[in-house]
Symmetry: D2
Subunit: 312 residues, 4 copies
Amino acid sequence: MSLPAPLTGVVPPLCTPLTPAGEVDRVSLAALAERLIDAGVSGLFALGSSGETAYLGDGRRRTVLETVVEAAAGRVPVLAGAIDMATERVVDHARTAAALGADAIVATAPFYTRTHSVEIADHFRRVREGAGLPLFAYDIPASVHSKLTPRIVLPLAADGTLAGLKDSSGDDGALRRLLVEARRRGLTDSFSVLTGSELAVDGALLAGAHGVVPGLGNVDPAGYVRLYAHARAGRWDRARAEQDRLAALFALTDAGDPAAMGGSSSALGAFKAALHLLGVIACPATAAPQVPLGDDAVKTVRQLLEEGGLLP
Amino acid sequence: MSLPAPLTGVVPPLCTPLTPAGEVDRVSLAALAERLIDAGVSGLFALGSSGETAYLGDGRRRTVLETVVEAAAGRVPVLAGAIDMATERVVDHARTAAALGADAIVATAPFYTRTHSVEIADHFRRVREGAGLPLFAYDIPASVHSKLTPRIVLPLAADGTLAGLKDSSGDDGALRRLLVEARRRGLTDSFSVLTGSELAVDGALLAGAHGVVPGLGNVDPAGYVRLYAHARAGRWDRARAEQDRLAALFALTDAGDPAAMGGSSSALGAFKAALHLLGVIACPATAAPQVPLGDDAVKTVRQLLEEGGLLP
Amino acid sequence: MSLPAPLTGVVPPLCTPLTPAGEVDRVSLAALAERLIDAGVSGLFALGSSGETAYLGDGRRRTVLETVVEAAAGRVPVLAGAIDMATERVVDHARTAAALGADAIVATAPFYTRTHSVEIADHFRRVREGAGLPLFAYDIPASVHSKLTPRIVLPLAADGTLAGLKDSSGDDGALRRLLVEARRRGLTDSFSVLTGSELAVDGALLAGAHGVVPGLGNVDPAGYVRLYAHARAGRWDRARAEQDRLAALFALTDAGDPAAMGGSSSALGAFKAALHLLGVIACPATAAPQVPLGDDAVKTVRQLLEEGGLLP
Amino acid sequence: MSLPAPLTGVVPPLCTPLTPAGEVDRVSLAALAERLIDAGVSGLFALGSSGETAYLGDGRRRTVLETVVEAAAGRVPVLAGAIDMATERVVDHARTAAALGADAIVATAPFYTRTHSVEIADHFRRVREGAGLPLFAYDIPASVHSKLTPRIVLPLAADGTLAGLKDSSGDDGALRRLLVEARRRGLTDSFSVLTGSELAVDGALLAGAHGVVPGLGNVDPAGYVRLYAHARAGRWDRARAEQDRLAALFALTDAGDPAAMGGSSSALGAFKAALHLLGVIACPATAAPQVPLGDDAVKTVRQLLEEGGLLP
């Protein structure tokens, strides 16, 4: 399907269900995609950070994307992460994604290497040209260790290199300045700004963001769809209440023991534990060498699902 | 006057006007305070980061606070920054502020030294006890290089150590989780959460923040007062439009040549250049050894004031 | 050939010469390897950071390694970088390297994802087992954004997971504590500690490091070989003088215009410009999208080569 | 006394002994100074980071300096830290120090505020002029969050603003480049470069540093004096052995429970615990709100003193 311009709404970054042996669990992944579509999301983002993409080799990445494209069956667009260190590999991923039927590519600035704004702009131009698909820039300084400033992004939006931005920087001041300036330049009708900061979505939508890419949307897609609908209809108090409920639910990402694992293992493990408890996926395992959640953490996740109204 | 609990509304962090010789310009400072009160602010925050406090010795700090307390004349509460490296000095500043008539103290975690959450909590308890005034914690990781997490702040809110938080961390996800949890614990009727992220104030107020401490509020206090009023009345579209206008105006902080000066010199210099162009203060000089704005930068500031409707 | 245990001496991280079209220039790469072996290095490290590995896809990486293994022809061991985001891909690279005849693998902790010491240790164990070759841990926080502390490294050295460490952290205090503790545990006869901090090699060798992996060794391998020989013979004053000369030469990494490119483009571009001026490689191009050096920068490189006695 | 130019040798940053009530323990501080002078140090640095200066108000700072100047009694020069956020306060401290008889001032770049190289240079010029005493720049990015690059330092060394540099950056590559360039410019006969990286002193002296400012020198001044003497005499193997012993002893800084306190509380607490166990100071307390060491940590300190040959 062709990608709406601008893309709007809720576009969850799908978790990647694995078997106990570490293979991609295609049945569970398809079930997850189905659940998200049923809930009313407007796109599926496969192979993002929530999808544990850093941990997946090319074979598993391919399986993930095949599965999601097949499950989507043209009902919603599929965005494919092409997450890798620098341009050549990103283009390789993007071409594979295009061949597998993805509708758009999501890529970061180069990382591992120290980079520069001129280099980043050239990178995105090469990826756009190499991929032959609409391209979203993915701003995630916590992983990439550089920031996609408005000064980098706006010219790339203006010249058609970028179809959109997924902003996971958490820098809502920079986001606001980007949105204001994009509107001033007449870009917001085609260039889609999606926030990845899943805890202040009401504010981001009020500020003019086109949508949201919430990791927690794997667990409660209907909540984010309601939040989006309230915001679009100007029901800001109800949007706020929904966001508050989701912010409380987000505490599940802290379930893991901080002395025993990192924040990423805790958050991704908790999303999967929740999906397992909800009966969506068959196995909560995360990709090696991430540290699995302990029993206490799973209890915490269950309790938060109950408090959030997702489990009886 | 006694401090409202919780403190709400617009509480600008006052710039510190200086004479060409570097003395505190009491007349200009009183004029600035008067202008802010006229615009409808609900408090004045003297000796914050926007006040160049890092650059001011004890004598100039004292003069600033005397001037602001006298200018406020009990019409709005005066919050006094007690910004220093660690507990003893912070308590010294706080006691001086109490003696000079301040209504509340604003203090950060210890800095320069590497610190720890246990140490930070003890620090705030000692400052509260030493000051004998309501205490606001000031979360500004860009200066202090540690973050006041909800885990640190909430117990101090619950036990009465803190009357509020000024959140200049820019971490709106953490802010939301703090607000949700504070509400759950019944703290939001007394504990005031003020955002220092002046570009997403509509979103922060929607999320439940009690008010805002905007550096740009020196330049356009009436704008922030309108934004606050719209938000409180549920006129979110108008709040958003006001914030958008202010976000465009905020570009003045980038006026300085980045090859010649740091971001702080540029921003503080631009606020003062604007106040000078608006006729509020007599001299735009910043404290040594900050780098002054060049003529081109001042032209940019003037143009942005015109575009923002503040100059004809 | 089998890898000496511990590996000692000078092990340069080879630059990757490219054609103007961006293909690996096998002839130039073989010439570079030959020059290094002639100079007396004790190993060749292909596909490290100086080799622009982040920018190279699997095909170019394979060509590099084939070329270097063939050029080495068993005269010195070849260490192959298996630089990628996390375990599965690192193991893939390591297996390819083993199949192509590499003698050892060099791998970092997982990056892009936020990680944890338990996860890092498990990662190295899986890479060691998957590769079937001796494994060097590569500590480069500037790229990976986590530090391989002695607490992580020492148990992996003791249980045979790691054959060595390439320490590019620049943290010579931590390096000293590692060396002292490794000696106390009787590990230094088998576990090789190589410094990647090419400007303080005399001090690192004095402290007990086994060798050095100098990017600048592409340009002046004989200098580092002399430095190493002086140190091993206890001629510390001559070692120091050699290091001083090399430190002055290192200024070529700053040749690029800092307003136009990043530090990495400048340094890697300068190494290649120097190799081109020295007649070792046919073309100084770096991999896209790095920014090429301008003419002034090349002049600076030439001048420094002259001052360093490498060009007449 | 007048300061030697360049200052060389071992210049320990004195701990600040406190009474249980938190007052400066003048008797213990004088005893500490005496012990250091007896051991052969070439200067005393009062009010540095190891002296917990961040935690001390003006009164306690004054007492410290009076005590150290009196104890030194002209036998060795006294360097006084003028550690504060920005220029005005730093000048205030420096003038007080001059009045109290200090022989030189040690100051950092401005902190808390974001700064810039132009501003930093102007800062040091103003401090030098205001103080009327020789000035050492203190490079400690872990506290100040900016780095004093050779590009900032060398012109200030050349024009006489700076009498020296205390380099606690841990960046031994930058240190080497500074030393090489300073020598090239003929500055090393007057400009003193002291390393604060107490674990690689042999390497720093080999590289041309003039001396060392070791926190651990409070605990084992004789060890550092021997290390320095070996290095100056070219006995590098013995210098290395001494440094190795001191590096093993340095493990006491990790004695504190990392879950209960920060690294600074642990390190400063351990220095004081060691001095208390050695009978030099009367009470091991650190300044509030630092977290005190637990009993297990003190046992660890004792054991390391025994292993290091400082306790029987």
